[in-house]
Symmetry: C2
Subunit: 752 residues, 2 copies
């Protein structure tokens, strides 16, 4: 069931469930993903990965592999130029090059073989002799921060997602923010709750493994077909690693079978480019599922300590959030973002946030849908739920009292514009779900509130008007979630033409201006804005053309809803199609283009969840009975797809809450690197998710759009933990809350 509240009807295209143009291709298998790309003479490559979590590489002998019939080339770190001190190293991106002096995690790529078939390449891997000197590994972030812990890097790069961190210890960076006087705050509190929480490494669970085809020309220029979230980042990282000019690397983004943050960096492309250069032939590398689990970046595990203080009347007065994010083998866990939004949803006058980015001998983590926020909300909302219990206050009323509103200031001191925290809480409070009593033994209900900043950044777009009045749009944002539809709708709305007259294509990095990747809930917002600006540019140029056809000054020509007309002379009027037909003969075609960086217009957003569940006290298994999510989306471009985002994020959040985790053994070996053993929720595990789409238009965007894609994963673990407590009286402070752990907690409560 989907409910939309405050649906606006001021638009003709926006807000309608138009037919998404990529739908049929995707359900019938016609859509071309990276592994569907076949080039003439193409070779297949496989990657050799480290069997050790931490070891020196003494030598690599590839001679036997090269002797195998069908083997064409081998690449090791020696084939790469020395990693420059420049941008690659500063961004901490060395983790996607091949290991050189040391391997830093089990799964670290050491070499790759290109052969006539993937099977030959696979077999050849076993012929590569690598001599390792095994080093002591460190697998826990708190241990890694202890003096005497094994050290992974000579020095840590202090840059993470553009934020500068401080060195804390050989394996850790830190970022600290504070506001008010925390000591004084806790003294003023009537109730204080302090708890520790942990979460495990989880995977984004995209269906399509990483895959690319790379073709290096004799002049060294590289063409990459890749399933990637950010083709320009793939381009820039590859160019940096191979020391090529940026215009000598072209990335053609294929369709993409999920990313959620896991496909932001080029794990395979640089090595494939070198194999292609060595062989003169295109090279394909497609990861196996275990490659994906062991060789790419999951979401970071965490250790968190949270202390909140509140008045009896419910006002939060002090908070201390301390967290260690397990970055994996290279720094770069989403500490800066988590510090920024960790407490951002509540008015807390006195607060201290300490975040740590800690390297351990595990795969280097990557963002996963609202990176860092799910962990932090699990901990902080857990403490809020306990506070509510302690002061005897309804958890929604407590949150309504504390939630930030328009005019309140964020941690950077900037006042919020119109935001929808109150609205999503009210929506849950007034929902049929919340108003319906839950009955029965071992059943419980929980609520939680989530907050996400959403993203901005650069996007580009270009719109070409055809003589028949249809248009083609090109843009640079890979479509992970239906974004091409929402972007096209914003262009159609601005041009005043039907969505069916718009064709929108995601193009390569040579064909459109710089566009940041499809991440951070930025795509429909920022690339949509680029489409609006390109459409405005089209309108402007068509107004000029009409003015020249009518021999009147352009300022006398107006355009509204796809009609161009003279402001005084009713006989002078063109529909969009009529004017389009006249363009080529009256001065040439019209192409509108734009580049935008609408970061200042980003609208943060809230989601609130209510969940009913039942705990089986015999097994610890949690069954979700009913789930309702209310999320402020600003303006739903395509309500059907927005609903899909809300449902999908919630299901991922449920998986994170109840089942998902990497099992590492004591040697740092992942023991469940398949979808059989890594337990993601399937359709049978979850009920239908009820969605309530709240539209509090973002005043910073022409059509009120906020990001939609990430917010919905943030809240489920916290809401489910609250519901488990409500059901069986146990406070779960560690994720996942899978049957074994729940049973253990129950036993502990019962004094077993």
């Amino acid at each position: 069931m989907s409910t939309t509240i405050e649906r606006s009807s001021q638009y003709k295209v926006i807000g309608k469930d138009v037919l998404r143009p990529d739908g049929v291709d995707k359900v019938t298998g016609r859509a071309v993903f990276a592994d569907d790309v076949h080039l003439n003479g193409m070779l297949h490559a496989k990657v050799l990965r480290s069997p050790h979590a931490h070891a020196k590489i003494r030598s690599i002998d590839v001679s036997e592999a090269l002797k195998m019939p069908g083997v064409r080339a081998v690449v090791t770190s020696e084939d790469f130029p020395p990693i420059p001190e420049g941008i690659v190293k500063e961004e901490g991106a060395a983790f996607f090059a091949l290991a050189s002096d040391k391997v830093l995690f089990r799964g670290h790529a050491v070499a790759a073989v290109a052969a006539d078939s993937p099977h030959v390449a696979d077999e050849a891997l076993s012929k590569i002799k690598v001599e390792y000197e095994v080093l002591k590994a460190v697998l826990d972030p708190r241990e890694a921060m202890e003096p005497g812990a094994p050290v992974l890097h000579e020095k840590l790069n202090p840059m993470s997602f553009g934020a500068r961190l401080e060195q804390h210890s050989p394996n850790a960076l830190q970022q600290i923010t504070s506001m008010g006087d925390i000591e004084q705050g806790f003294r003023e509190a009537d109730v204080v709750v302090e708890r520790e929480f942990t979460t495990k490494t989880v995977h984004q669970g995209y269906i399509e493994p990483q895959s690319c085809v790379v073709d290096t020309a004799p002049d060294g220029s590289v063409t990459i077909w890749s399933t990637c979230q950010g083709p320009f980042r793939h381009r820039d990282n590859t160019a940096d690693l191979l020391q090529l000019p940026q215009n000598k690397v072209k990335v053609i983004p294929t369709e993409i079978g999920g990313g959620f943050g896991g496909k932001e960096v080029p794990y395979l492309e640089p090595m494939a480019a070198i194999l292609s250069r060595k062989t003169g032939r295109p090279v394909k590398i497609t990861m196996s599922r275990s490659d994906v689990f062991e060789g790419t970046g999951p979401a970071c595990a965490s250790y968190m300590r949270v202390k909140f203080g509140a008045k009896k009347t419910g006002e939060l007065v002090a908070a201390h959030l301390y967290f260690c994010f397990e970055a994996g083998a290279f720094p770069g866990a989403p500490v800066g973002g988590a510090v920024g939004i960790g407490l951002g949803r509540y008015k807390i006058p006195n607060q201290l946030v300490e975040g740590f980015d800690v390297v351990v001998n595990k795969p280097r983590t990557q963002p996963y849908r609202a990176p860092g926020a799910t962990q932090i909300h699990f901990a902080t909302e857990g403490v809020v739920d306990e506070l509510c219990e302690k002061i005897g206050m309804d958890p929604i009323e407590f949150r309504l009292k504390n939630v930030v509103q328009e005019g309140d200031r964020n941690v950077q001191g900037v006042p919020f514009l119109r935001i929808g925290g109150v609205e999503v809480l009210e929506a849950i409070k007034n929902s049929d779900h919340y108003k319906t009593p839950l009955e029965g033994p071992n059943r419980g209900r929980g609520v939680a509130l989530g907050f996400w900043r959403n993203g901005g950044g650069m996007s580009s777009c270009s719109i070409s008007v055809h003589p028949d009045g249809t248009v083609s749009i090109i843009e640079g944002s890979p479509d992970l979630s239906g974004t091409r539809t929402g972007i096209g709708m914003q262009a159609a709305e601005t041009l005043g033409i039907p969505f069916e007259d718009v064709r929108i294509t995601v193009v390569d990095t040579d064909s459109v201006g710089y566009t940041m990747g499809s991440w951070g809930s930025r795509t429909s917002f920022a690339t949509g804005w680029a489409a609006i600006e390109a459409a405005r540019d089209v309108n402007l140029k068509m107004v000029e053309r009409a003015s020249s056809i009518w021999s009147v000054p352009p300022e006398e020509v107006e355009v509204s809803d796809g009609t161009f007309y003279h402001r005084d002379d009713g006989s002078k009027k063109f529909t969009f199609k009529q004017l389009a037909a006249r363009l080529n003969a009256t001065g040439g075609p019209v192409v509108g283009s734009s580049v935008v960086d609408p970061t200042r217009g980003v609208g943060p957003a809230f989601a609130a969840n209510v969940v009913d569940l039942e705990v089986d006290p015999e097994t610890g298994k949690v069954t979700i009975l009913r789930y309702t999510v209310a999320q402020d989306v600003g303006q739903a471009l395509h309500p059907g797809m927005v609903e899909g985002q809300l449902e999908g994020g919630t299901v991922q959040g449920i998986g994170w809450a109840l089942n998902e985790e990497y099992f590492f053994d004591n040697d740092g070996q992942m023991r469940n690197s398949s979808f059989l053993d890594y337990r993601m929720p399937v359709a049978l595990d979850v009920p239908m998710i009820d969605t309530i789409i709240i539209e509090v238009p973002n005043p910073g965007h022409p059509y009120g759009v906020r990001g939609v894609g990430e917010n919905n994963i943030i809240t489920p673990p916290a809401a489910i933990a609250a519901a488990i407590h409500n059901a069986i009286g146990v406070r779960m402070t560690d994720l996942p809350m899978s049957p074994g752990y729940v049973l253990q907690a129950l036993w502990q409560q019962n004094g077993h």
Copy 2:
């Protein structure tokens, strides 16, 4: 040997022989042509062609073909929507749809079969039963103009290349222009020469046959990979024929192995689109060589009657040019163009030009490098040569006296800007070749002057600046002759950056604004101009950015030669690379774009030739001994490639002059449809061509560029005919001047 006269050195990039970026790919076989495109599940199609020159189609039975294992679909005209009365019919473009009620030439496409392999498709063609009612055919244009001749069409479309012709008779259209008083003019003449000339059908001789891969999606949208000169025309024609919106057809131009006018229309794409729609799979069609000869458009045969009158002192006073162009089965021979430039190179106060566009039962002709001009120049320069002989005047002096110069008016009454007719004649006159006496029996020397209008029209371009200061350019002109290099050079020159920092790509019809095809010597001129404008747009935006970084008004910032600087403050200075690195962080990327229609700036051009040859009186075989061509190119962008154009055009002209012709039997069946039997010159047949590049800058273009590609084919037949006359005293008035015909003429002269 190549000589360049008046080489300007004002430019840093233009005029240098930079490394062409597509060179290595093309010589090593890496470049992707249409037949190199392989899509998953792709089918192969073959085309059934008419065995009759003129017949009614009574019925087509495809049932047996469809029963064959591996056959997936058959298309006939019944699968096409009725051809609309709109643009397709007006442009006379029905000839690339499948024949419906009648076949109009031997080779007319009747049906096509898509199958799992090309061999199965081939075999299936023989199972299609077509019942024909054979009609009387007409194969000669003069017969076709006679009363009672078989009539091909119910009515003729009077539009040809945008020019409106008058109906002359059921099979012919006409266009007539005149100036002065022709009767009076001939009365004033001291010498009058009147002659008849004929030329045969010849082929453009591109190496790569027509080929395409077409993929029709379930929503009916069509993606086309095609070897084509004009992707936007392919798109528009296909959209019109299939009655699709233009944004539902995307044409991706592949590399192209020659076109010369022969790859302007979509012979295969619409039928492949229907086969793909029927099967749900991509369909490839690649023509065999005989398909190319019999099913596509060669250059038109002609019958011409020319009468020129001159004073004894050499001034031309009157001219009458009458010509019939054999259009083939549908009207559209280049009559309008030939009328426009037929006499355009000389000042002739009294003139009458009558041109006829005549349909006959042969393949519908297409442009071939300076369409119509080679035929007309063969005739008119032949008469000029005879006039020179009659009044005893040196043929170069005669032409110097009569050639149009700046300020003279063309047939439309518009005065010429600076043009290089005198310069090319002087260059030949002063050449080592012309100054070196020719000796020996049966040897002769001839000269001729050629004139071509060149083309303008719409082009679009977009330039994206990368953070490292390299740029990517996209444009829509397939590169037949190195044009991407010359276009990129104009952008690099305008940006003040090295050519190596530019990467230029020809993109699909969705990704760039409308761009007319690569024909009419327009590409380096017009798309180059688009690149200049896009680069100027980049400069403008980067000036704005520098001004914002320096907090100074934009009008105080200047750019010159890739350096941005404050006009007064020497400390404020950015190189292009320095400023590029600052763009993303100071407001986003910079993309410059442009659409242009610089038709008014087109600069017409001249070429003059001198040729020495020897005739074997025993066999009639003509051997070219030495050949020098001087051509005004305005500004040579890339002298090496310009030289290649001059040589290539000359060799094609030599082939047309000496060997090439379609042999049709009395049933309209071509009897030499292979490169074994259709005799094109090979390297052994021609000497090295000496080129003299004349640079008389075109005042209508920012860098003085004129078209280069077509002019050079115009003059060789005329120059060779003059040389044969000089060698053996015979005036050849029919092309080709192959051994048999030369011998026949010799015998006739000697009274055999």
